[in-house]
Symmetry: C2
Subunit: 228 residues, 2 copies
């Protein structure tokens, strides 16, 4: 992907906020691609909040390291890279067990149906920024644990299980305080503010395929969005 190369270019090229990138034509020459391709890549970065284009002037870097742009197309990986940090993920626990009441409700399952559970921590430069817990129906995704173990990504695992076309997440965002367990896993004091997002992913038919809860560390992550 050219967007990734451009990201590396910005991060590794010593670009700081406010600096002007080479022109689209120059970038097209450098990467030996068409200007349209460069433009799509730049549009991707612009959407992620890394750059801002000004007609007649140029494309400028707008990355502010402490910000964590949040959007439909934004990937955690890309944003952490943009801030010059190294993203990683650590899986804490995987198990198959009967669904809890809210899980069964969210997934439209009968109470007691088996679900696969994955729990882990997202890190930036080995500093925990998020604690995720995700469950999928075991009946529909029998080989999910294996795929998850192998791919290390919930999204990738679901895609491989033939739900490449699942509907984008509907997420409820609320604020919570870290309990003792979360505090330990996220390396924050107990009572630290967390941003909790309760997520339901569903396929094209409207059938839920994944129920996830993620707690972000408020002090280490800022969610960004265009208001109104």
């Amino acid at each position: 992907m050219i967007a990734d190369a451009l990201t590396a270019e910005i991060v590794g090229g010593g670009y700081g906020p406010g600096m002007k990138l080479p022109t689209e034509a120059q970038l097209a020459l450098r990467f030996a691609v068409n200007r349209h391709t460069v433009r799509r890549a730049l549009a991707s970065l612009s959407e992620a909040g890394m750059v801002t284009a000004r007609q007649g002037a140029g494309v400028f870097v707008t990355t502010v390291p402490t910000e964590y742009p949040l959007g439909r197309r934004v990937r955690f990986h890309q944003n952490v890279l943009a801030s010059g940090r190294t993203p990683s993920r650590r899986i804490l626990r995987m198990e198959t067990r009967p669904a809890s009441v809210p899980e069964a409700e969210a997934l439209g399952l009968d109470p007691g149906s088996l679900v696969h559970l994955v729990e882990g921590v997202s890190l930036a430069d080995d500093l925990p920024v998020g604690l995720f817990r995700s469950v999928v129906p075991a009946a529909r995704f029998p080989s999910f644990p294996e795929a998850m173990q192998r791919l290390g990504s919930i999204t990738a695992a679901l895609v491989e299980q033939s739900v490449a076309d699942y509907t984008r997440a509907s997420t409820r965002l609320t604020a919570k305080l870290a309990d003792a367990v979360q505090a330990g896993q996220l390396q924050v004091p107990q009572g630290a503010p967390l941003l909790r997002s309760i997520t339901v992913n569903q396929d094209v038919g409207g059938i839920p395929v994944e129920y996830g809860v993620t707690h972000f560390v408020g002090d280490r992550v800022t969610l960004t969005v265009i208001p109104e």
Copy 2:
């Protein structure tokens, strides 16, 4: 804009979730534009969460009326339209007064500096969904009140004041309970759950230009995002 026409097409054309849109080629013929133009419009809708494209298959409607997709490029107007409702906005109050402590801090102003304040309600089908309050430095934007009065949009007013290139918002999201005043303005019971977003917009140079607080009615708005 073709995206708007397509939105109207989906809303007014009796499209429901899961239904397949005409092919890109057919849409290009219908609107008498190039396929690339149709693709951009579709990409816009895809980003707003209204449709999902599947290579080799087609583009499918994914709109769920009760959801409120939240993203960088997502416009409130478009989302409300997508759910088949009519968006509007009512300005409650405009005044110029000294900045409060958090406002001055967020905007990098000296305590007591004058700021322009705008307060209003966003509605969908005349039902309040959000209560916004926004302040901008009066020294930098002397004619903001006039522009705001005329244009009815904070974004448009700022754009006219030569900050077309302001950096995307960094927003902190927290949960709050509605107090008596908010309850009255939003037409919800006191103590109803609100999603509060504290926003700071800054220009390319990193200088804050707008500080905004918006309270969304949790029961009427759902924020959507791709997790991880």
